[in-house]
């Protein structure tokens, strides 16, 4: 009993965040009676864990639901079903009061530093507002605290009285990071923090994020579509396609040995800054299917070059193929999964026939 408790506590400490079968649908309303006539399946059964002090990245095309995952985890959006455990605590079961206590612990840095800062509030206030609201430090130390945070993020103290429009993109992103950091969080969701910035500024911001992680022991969920940045910053990487996680592994493993055809295509499309490297691009045909009406079976089968008959009937199981390497693809089915999938396919075919006859 006692041992169990200790084990559980250790487990708690190891994983800061656990996402279990998270589902988020956005209802489509009809224009007349506001009836729900369908769902946009933005996030469809996504599970992952993040270890304390590590960085997990989610990559994928736009519209694949990666930002929605980030926002649902913070409860900026309500879930449809599933669980998100933060420090072992299910954040969807928290009351308003408890949620308020949790808020400073989980923070977010948004994509576009041009639209995520209020143009009417000076920078010192942008960073300090929430500090005062949540009583992070006693009022007497407030000024010093804000200055300290600003210095940690590479901003000067005299920037306090300036307004966001006076800053360049990179500095604005520093302000956004300082705003998140000021609440002394454990966990920060970085929603494409560098995609709006120049290459040289990107490097500065990435270095800053890494530096802060070392100094403050932060855990990041890094959402991005830039695969070279992701490789640089993250410990583990999840690849999303049309609302589902198709592959998950440690960074080195995933980059050296991508399994899912979508991941392979994604990696082959990275432009390499060397004119002599002949690129062997796997060009995906067509574009992302609509998440309101995803294809049956494997969601990727419409664009996949290894598509088999089974793919269009049975959705593949998200299974551990090598230790720590998860992938959802029929190509890597073992006997058990194959048998199960074939059974489902036979069932689906029979159903189809029946419907066809009617």
């Amino acid at each position: 009993m006692n041992d169990n408790n200790i084990l559980e506590q250790q487990n708690k400490q190891e994983y800061l965040l656990e996402v279990k079968n998270l589902v988020k649908y956005f209802p489509i309303k009809s224009s007349f009676f506001r009836r729900t006539i369908g769902n946009v399946r933005a996030v469809d059964n996504v599970s992952f864990k993040i270890k304390r002090g590590q960085t997990m990245s989610i990559v994928g095309e736009s519209g694949c639901g990666k930002s929605t995952v980030g926002r649902t985890i913070l409860r900026l959006l309500e879930k449809t079903s599933g669980e998100v455990l933060f420090n072992g605590q299910n954040i969807f079961s928290l009351s308003k009061k408890e949620l308020r206590k949790l808020r400073p612990k989980v923070q977010i840095v948004f994509q576009d530093p041009y639209s995520s800062l209020s143009p009417r509030i000076p920078v010192g206030e942008i960073i300090g507002e929430a500090v005062r609201e949540h009583n992070i430090v006693p009022p007497a130390e407030y000024d010093d605290y804000v200055s300290r945070i600003m210095r940690a993020c590479g901003l000067q103290e005299y920037h306090k009285s300036r307004y966001p429009h006076e800053f360049s993109g990179g500095q604005r992103q520093r302000i956004c990071i300082a705003r998140a950091l000021a609440l002394n969080p454990d966990f920060i969701v970085c929603d494409e923090p560098v995609s709006a910035l120049d290459v040289s500024i990107q490097a500065q911001i990435i270095n800053l994020l890494k530096q802060l992680q070392r100094d403050f022991g932060l855990t990041y969920l890094f959402i991005s579509h830039d695969l070279s940045v992701v490789e640089h910053i993250s410990d583990t990487v999840g690849v999303m396609y049309l609302g589902t996680m198709v592959e998950y592994a440690e960074t080195a493993e995933l980059y050296s040995n991508p399994l899912h055809p979508y991941t392979k295509a994604l990696f082959s499309a990275i432009p390499i800054p060397d004119p002599d490297v002949k690129m062997n691009r796997i060009i995906l045909n067509g574009s992302l299917p609509s998440p309101a009406n995803p294809p049956k079976g494997c969601k990727f089968h419409t664009r996949c070059e290894f598509c088999m008959e089974i793919c269009s009937y049975t959705p593949p199981e998200y299974a551990e193929i090598a230790p720590g390497h998860y992938c959802a693809c029929h190509l890597y089915n073992d006997e058990q999964r194959q048998a199960k999938a074939e059974e489902t396919m036979a069932h689906a075919k029979a159903e189809e026939k029946k419907n066809g006859k009617k």
Partner: protein, 396 residues
């Protein structure tokens, strides 16, 4: 304390100063507009000949300035490079380095009267040994060139298509404008042919669709179809893939490469993604703070980057498969565009300074037949060519 305005702030100007600046701007822009009007009414002043008939465009010490409320912003200041026929020239640089302004000067799409090309020549090849100096070309002539001889693909396909017209109509407009003799049916057939060419499978369907019904990649394809509609000699692609995903980016780049072969055009590719440049470009021009600091073939730039800025840019980009603990970042930031220093613009951020860097702005130094760099470090090694020619504000 928070609300106190700081006077030592570099962007702070007094009312008196501000009045002086706007009076000066008014005087200068009026004078420049007059000069322009005189030049553009006389065909002799805007027809020239190309220095090399194998080039589509020659930029020769182009200076494009903006007369803004805080002073004169020298967005482009003495830029020279050539775009040879049937090749892709990539222009790289940070935002605000003048790469877009260079292309806008070429299209004569600058916001006048604040934005003025105050010096230099942009020679555009019209074939048969004829060329126009775009700087002085009147609007009536420009309208025949724009969209017909050169066209532009803009950065954001979301905002550059008109939301209230069908995609087909928008392409039709360009074709019928430049080919007034074509009948409506012919124009439509041509549009659908163009849509097919850019790889849109359902071309007659897309012809009838509004832009919001298409995805980002498809919209960019429509933009490319529009740019290609009159088989121009030059396509300016201003960050054509920045707003797109990696997989769609790969599709679009492949498409541009293909089309270049099919239609025989030159492409001026503006981007800050070095990966894209390496894949696409034959020649690369690196710009920094309104000046060209290095130019050469793609091999020159990527295998032998010579200017400290180019080297920094290469090192600051994480590359898949290359593990580094910390990314290099170029210290400091771009100097204030209103008060550019006399010495090398990159000196304050440079880690390889030599003594000469404190002196004049470095000239173009020829390292090899194709490779030219503006940096004092190569003074001994290469052959010194010209200094970038700017215009004195007092001479205007």
């Amino acid at each position: 304390m928070i609300f106190k305005k700081q006077k030592n702030n570099s962007s702070y100007i007094t009312t008196k100063e501000s009045r002086r600046i706007s009076a000066l701007n008014r005087r200068l822009t009026r004078k420049l507009e007059k000069k322009r009007a005189a030049a553009s009414s006389n065909p002799a002043s805007y027809t020239t000949t190309m220095h090399d008939s194998n080039n589509v465009v020659e930029f020769d010490n182009v200076c494009t300035w903006f007369f803004s409320d805080v002073g004169v912003v020298k967005a482009v200041d003495g830029v020279s490079f050539n775009v040879p026929k049937r090749s892709t020239v990539g222009i790289v640089g940070e935002s605000g380095c003048g790469k877009s302004v260079t292309s806008l000067s070429l299209m004569q799409l600058l916001q006048r009267p604040q934005g003025q090309t105050v010096g230099g020549e942009i020679r555009f090849n019209l074939g048969d040994g004829k060329a126009f100096n775009i700087v002085n070309t009147p609007n009536s002539e420009m309208m025949k060139i724009r969209g017909n001889k050169m066209s532009m693909i803009f950065q954001e396909p979301m905002t550059s298509l008109n939301p209230v017209f069908r995609c087909g109509d928008q392409i039709d407009e360009i074709i019928s404008l430049h080919n007034p003799k074509m009948s409506k049916e012919e124009v439509k057939a041509r549009t659908i042919e163009m849509l097919n060419l850019v790889g849109i499978a359902n071309s007659s369907g897309v012809y009838m669709m509004y832009p919001h019904e298409l995805s980002g990649g498809m919209r960019q394809r429509v933009m490319i179809a529009m740019a290609l509609a009159c088989t121009p000699e030059l396509i300016i692609a201003d960050e054509p893939t920045t707003a797109l995903d990696v997989t769609i980016q790969a599709q679009i780049l492949e498409l541009l490469k293909d089309l270049k072969e099919k239609v025989n055009t030159s492409i001026m590719l503006i981007t800050h993604d070095l990966g894209v440049i390496a894949n696409m470009a034959d020649y690369v021009v690196v710009m920094y703070a309104g000046r060209v600091i290095e130019k050469g073939t793609a091999e020159d730039i990527f295998h032998n980057p010579s200017h400290p800025y180019t080297i920094g840019l290469m090192r600051s980009k994480p590359v898949v498969g290359k593990k580094v603990t910390e990314l290099y970042n170029i210290p400091g930031s771009v100097p204030n565009p209103v008060n550019m220093p006399d010495y090398c613009y990159f000196r304050d951020r440079c880690e390889m300074c030599v003594e000469k860097c404190n002196g004049k702005y470095p000239p173009e130094i020829k390292l090899s037949e194709t490779h030219i760099v503006s940096c004092w470090r190569f003074e001994q090694e290469g052959q010194i060519l010209d200094y970038p020619k700017s215009v004195n504000l007092e001479d205007l």
